[in-house]
């Protein structure tokens, strides 16, 4: 049997048009609100359009009408069956005070794993510098291998003019964007079942460990702390959070201890990954600002004790924020 399309369309068309109007309104409105009657009407219209589609698929192969109905039913289906919170308005303060720290704590084990990987990288970097000083060329980027720490400290402390004068904001912007890009890559490499994320975290650890050991062994611990702590107290945790989000992604792929399908696991993890990524971007923006405007000033301009105290305070506040906020 083939249905009488003309009569069928004439009978059903008003319902389809009404449904299309409602769907378009829902799609255009960021925070749609419907009365109970409207919801009931919307549901009835959706079911009627779906039934029309089923009828058409069975009794007629006319493609144009079918395509129109498929598109309409698909749009209405998404609006009706969606159960996730789809508010378009993001409450920034609520996100900062509650959502971000709560999400961090929900996946804190992934953070510990990221920290452990970085620490093992640190140990490796320190040992490499201790046992094979030639490895400096491989483990110390950004020209740190060219000067002994004591030479650099002497150079920095005796500098008469500011080499970054007039360039600090540009340097700050460069640090922010570069660090965020690297962190996003750390997160994205979670798609390699975490292998890429682990390698990047380990490499970061190696660099940190090698440089730290080099300065400590040369008796420049005060300078090192004063140089690294003001921005590192925020930057290093931010990179660890990027690693944490990469590991959350990898865990969703692997699915240990979860019997739900991979698509459902990824769907579950997606929102948390995005929250964490905005979190580390925010922290890295702050770290970039501090690194450019404070970390690069050394004694006698700024006493190391003051810089170390500032870094320690930041770390304390960050720990308090991530550990306690939104409880």
């Amino acid at each position: 049997m083939i249905i009488d399309l003309d009569r069928f369309i004439a009978a059903e068309r008003p319902a389809w048009i009404e449904l299309e109007t409602m769907v378009s309104r829902l799609e255009a409105d960021p925070n749609p609100r419907m009365s109970l009657e409207e919801v009931e009407r919307f549901h009835a219209l959706y079911e009627r359009a779906a039934a029309s589609l089923a009828k058409l698929a069975t009794f007629s192969a006319e493609p144009e009408t079918r395509r129109f109905l498929e598109s309409l039913v698909a749009r209405a289906y998404g609006e009706i069956h969606e159960t996730r919170d789809s508010r378009r308005r993001i409450l920034v303060l609520n996100w900062f005070i509650r959502t971000l720290p709560q999400t961090f704590r929900r996946h804190v084990r992934a953070f510990y794993v990221a920290a452990a990987i970085t620490l093992s990288g640190c140990a490796f970097g320190a040992m490499a510098t201790a046992f094979d000083p030639d490895s400096r060329h491989a483990t110390m980027p950004f020209g740190h291998d060219r000067l002994r720490p004591s030479e650099r400290v002497k150079e920095e402390e005796s500098r008469a003019s500011d080499p970054l004068a007039g360039q600090r904001s540009t340097f700050s912007a460069f640090l922010m964007t570069h660090n965020i890009r690297v962190s996003v890559l750390t997160l994205a490499l979670g798609m390699t079942y975490g292998v890429g994320t682990i390698l990047l975290l380990f490499y970061n650890g190696v660099v940190l460990g090698a440089i730290s050991f080099d300065y400590a062994a040369d008796g420049q611990t005060g300078f090192l702390m004063g140089w690294l702590l003001p921005h590192g107290a925020v930057e290093i945790p931010a990179i660890l959070i990027a690693g944490q989000s990469g590991l959350v992604l990898a865990l969703a792929l692997v699915g240990w201890g979860k019997s739900i399908p991979i698509a459902a696991r990824l769907r579950e993890a997606s929102r948390d990954i995005v929250t964490l990524s905005f979190g580390f971007a925010l922290l890295l923006a702050w770290a970039g600002f501090v690194e450019s405007f404070l970390s690069q000033y050394h004694e006698p301009v700024v006493p190391y004790e003051a810089k170390i105290a500032f870094g320690a305070l930041e770390l304390l506040l960050l720990c308090f924020y991530l550990g306690r906020s939104g409880r």
Partner: protein, 255 residues
């Protein structure tokens, strides 16, 4: 093997399908977006140049931050406000949708765009392209993580059958019983073939068009033993139009 369409079955038991976009179309859409980003970056460069007259440092800062925002934010912002489309996707009628037919969420858009960082490795979206090529739903890694697919979304206009169905006079309508028999014997697939031929008639070469409708007419004539006056003076194409009219519009003869 890659599927051409994504079929979604609703709890009501209705199946609807979304046509998946292929890697080549997606690459072309991406290229348009790449050009759009380049234009925006050039505009930013010009603005920074003007600002550089006042403060070179401020200009460099604005350019660095602006470029970062454009390169990361372009796709996220447009896909969010245009519900899964960017300039390139709009041009090629592509759309990002939830792989299960649900409403596309902000976190899905951000996830799929953040994961471009790995999809674009080592250059020119090699990993993303390869993933798309081998994935059943043509998904790059970002799509897999965000549970999204990119579909072709042609304009779904209201159906208009006036172009397909016969004009005021249909010689088959003079033979009601035979028309009913024809309707009974034509399967939906055969009817669809006739409709498709009518829809695409202007795309054929003249000779191919004549040959196609001759073949179709002979096929449908064999279904029912029609009297000569029902087909005399009627071209093969008009005959098919009459057949489609009879098959799809059962009530028209009674009007």
């Amino acid at each position: 093997m890659r599927a051409a369409a994504l079929a979604i079955k609703t709890p009501e038991g209705i199946v609807f399908s979304q046509h998946l976009a292929g890697p080549v179309t997606r690459f072309l859409a991406w290229f348009i977006d790449f050009l759009a980003i380049s234009v925006l970056t050039m505009a930013l460069g010009q603005t920074a140049q003007v600002l550089g007259v006042v403060s070179p440092s401020a200009a460099a800062t604005v350019y660095t931050l602006g470029y970062f925002v454009i390169s990361f934010g372009y796709a996220i912002l447009l896909e969010w406000i245009w519900r899964g489309q960017t300039v390139g996707k709009k041009l090629f009628r592509l759309r990002v949708v939830d792989a299960e037919g649900m409403r596309l969420q902000f976190d899905q858009i951000v996830t799929r765009n953040l994961l471009r960082a790995v999809d674009m490795l080592p250059a020119f979206y090699f990993i993303g392209g390869a993933a798309c090529w081998f994935s059943r739903k043509c998904q790059r890694l970002g799509d897999i993580a965000a549970n999204t697919v990119v579909i072709r979304s042609p304009l779904a206009a209201e159906p208009d059958l006036t172009q397909l169905l016969a004009g005021k006079f249909n010689s088959l309508r003079q033979h009601g019983r035979l028309a009913a028999r024809l309707r009974q014997r034509v399967s939906p697939a055969e009817a669809s073939t006739a409709v498709q031929a009518l829809i695409r008639r202007d795309q054929f070469e003249p000779a191919a068009r004549v040959a196609l409708f001759a073949e179709l007419a002979s096929h449908f004539r064999a279904k029912v033993d029609l009297p000569p006056e029902a087909t005399e003076g009627v071209s093969d194409e008009q005959f098919i139009r009459n057949v489609v009219d009879v098959v799809y519009r059962t009530g028209a003869g009674r009007r």
